[in-house]
């Protein structure tokens, strides 16, 4: 992973903005920011700590070429995909997607912060969803709880016990799913082949950028 990081750093020298424009989904919008701060003010998660850089600051940091600060930032993972910034931006920058794009890029080149819980959820969710084509909610939850090891998992499990029981009682959580007896697509093979091809193409496209 990290050699990909070096490769990119080399390829774009000190032009981090260009790197983001070409490598991060929707990155080409970063330059359109006019620094009004509406996105940051509109973000529902801007109220709590741990939100190191709001969206506009991320944009400014990118322009200022602060590669490490951006790639290591927790900011993007605070996004709840509420699309407030997206619909309000006076420059029509799709801020939500830009945040996602930068997050994905940071993760792809191995620079994303370690043990970032939302990033972990993202990974887990995707692998869970693509394993059988549909989400297995129980396994998803489990893998989340046990990400920090067995003990923590049990502890967390106990904390969440009431929640889980409530759902089970309400018939909205099927314990049997834990045993993999959850929802599945029939053509799992097809799905996996399809995704493999998609990832291959994606990698090829991204690699082609900034080369010439």
């Amino acid at each position: 992973m990290s050699d990909l990081n070096q490769e990119m750093a080399e390829r774009y020298k000190n032009n981090f903005l260009k790197e983001i424009e070409e490598q991060a989904e929707m990155g080409e919008w970063v330059k359109m920011c006019m620094q009004c701060g509406l996105c940051s003010g509109s973000c529902p998660t801007n109220f709590h700590s741990g939100w190191d850089h709001p969206p506009q600051e991320i944009f400014m940091l990118i322009r200022a070429g602060k590669r490490e600060e951006v790639l290591n930032s927790e900011g993007m993972y605070m996004c709840t995909s509420c699309y407030n910034c997206y619909v309000r931006c006076p420059r029509k920058v799709p801020v939500t997607h830009v945040m996602h794009g930068i997050a994905e890029y940071a993760y792809r080149i191995g620079r994303a912060p370690k043990a970032q819980p939302t990033l972990h959820l993202s990974k887990t969710f995707w692998s869970n969803a693509t394993k059988y084509g549909r989400v297995n909610e129980v396994q998803l939850t489990q893998s989340l709880y046990f990400k920090d090891g067995l003990g923590a998992g049990i502890k967390k499990g106990l904390e969440m016990k009431d929640v889980a029981l409530g759902l089970v009682k309400a018939g909205r959580l099927n314990p049997m799913e834990a045993l993999g007896m959850g929802h599945k697509c029939k053509d799992i093979k097809g799905i996996h082949a399809m995704l493999a091809k998609a990832e291959e193409l994606e990698a090829r496209n991204k690699a082609a950028k900034g080369k010439e």
């Binding site: 989904e25 529902p44 998660t45 109220f47 741990g50 993972y77 605070m78 709840t80 995909s81 509420c82 699309y83 407030n84 997206y86 619909v87 939500t96 996602h100 794009g101 994905e104 993760y107 792809r108 994303a112 819980p117 939302t118 990033l119 959820l121 993202s122 969710f125 995707w126 969803a129 693509t130 084509g133 549909r134 989400v135 909610e137 989340l144 009431d162 929640v163 409530g166 759902l167 009682k169 309400a170 018939g171 909205r172 959580l173 099927n174 799913e177 929802h183 697509c185 053509d187 097809g190 799905i191 082949a193 399809m194 995704l195 091809k197 998609a198 990832e199 193409l201 994606e202 496209n205």
Partner: protein, 298 residues
């Protein structure tokens, strides 16, 4: 022959036994009354949801949705795809727009689909259940079957994010959409005024960083109470789950005494149409909606 037919995309949470199964139950009852036939897209798959952004690249996400488009197109030709889940609708509709605006993306997508023996000719319309109710039937049509108006009950219509932004329901404002309030009034209930109607519930952060998300959930529930609501109504499974199931934890964390039922619009409609508690999936509510159970019992 039903008066309306759609390709149904329930999504992962709205399956039997899944976290929004009661949504599914009530939607089925509602549609029965309204004579809407919803045919599930055979072997549909997950939309990827917004949260998969970090792991999944652009193309893989669109390809997942493209597969559903292809399946719907081949098996249920000419039918719009209708999702009940806000995230499924948003994810699918986003993919539709991006694929239609980028030949490169579309070409790559087709190449990938071929691996699963599928192809897209024309991407069907992707719509949310609420859109269908409002745009294809209209409030008047929705009112006609009302047998038992929810007289004197006060609801906070909680629209949340993804049925509202960035696409939303035609003609509604992002900041203060009225459709949910109108639906509540259509079935005889009272929609209270409160200022957290479109506040985010924390979305996926409710799982990953509950301590952060639950603050927002608290604000929403508080505002609903302040507005005089007895119950909260929402069109989105994630909103429903987040606002409902964490009330216990929030009470512990903040010393509040929340105990407010959180329902789907489809549950209200089913009841107003004379459906039973079971048909409305009331048994699926973690915070029991006793008042509605009584009402259904009558």
């Amino acid at each position: 022959m039903a008066r309306k037919e759609y390709a149904f995309y329930p999504g992962c949470s709205s399956q039997k036994g899944a976290s929004a199964s009661n949504y599914l139950v009530s939607v089925e009852s509602m549609c029965k009354t309204l004579d809407i036939r919803m045919t599930e897209i055979p072997d549909w798959n997950c939309c990827g949801a917004s949260i998969s952004y970090a792991e999944a690249g652009e193309l893989p996400r669109h390809v997942m949705n493209a597969r559903n488009f292809a399946l719907a197109e081949t098996n249920l030709p000419g039918q719009d795809i209708v999702a009940t889940c806000a995230a499924c609708w948003l994810g699918a509709r986003e993919s539709k727009e991006r694929l239609e605006h980028s030949d490169r993306l579309m070409a790559d997508t087709q190449t990938a689909l071929k691996e699963a023996g599928l192809a897209i000719k024309v991407i069907p319309e992707v719509r949310h259940m609420v859109e269908v109710l409002i745009e294809d039937l209209g409030y008047d049509e929705l009112k006609k079957p009302v047998k038992k108006p929810l007289q004197g009950m006060k609801f906070a219509g909680y629209v949340g994010c993804q049925t509202n932004r960035p696409f939303g329901i035609a003609g509604e404002s992002f900041e203060n959409p009225m459709y949910l309030d109108k639906l509540i009034e259509t079935v005889g209930g009272e929609a209270v005024k409160y200022d957290q109607k479109v506040t985010c519930c924390g979305g996926a952060l409710a799982f990953s960083e509950p301590d952060k998300a639950q603050g927002q959930i608290k604000d929403i529930i508080e505002a609903a109470y302040d507005g005089g609501a007895e119950m909260i109504v929402t069109p989105c499974p994630l909103c429903q789950a987040n606002v409902e199931v964490y009330q216990g934890q929030i009470n512990k964390r903040y010393g509040t005494k929340f105990d407010i039922p959180v329902l789907y619009y489809s549950q209200l409609m089913t009841l107003a149409y004379g459906g039973s508690a079971k048909e409305a999936g009331l048994n699926g509510n973690v915070v029991q909606a006793r008042k509605l159970e009584e009402f259904a019992g009558k």
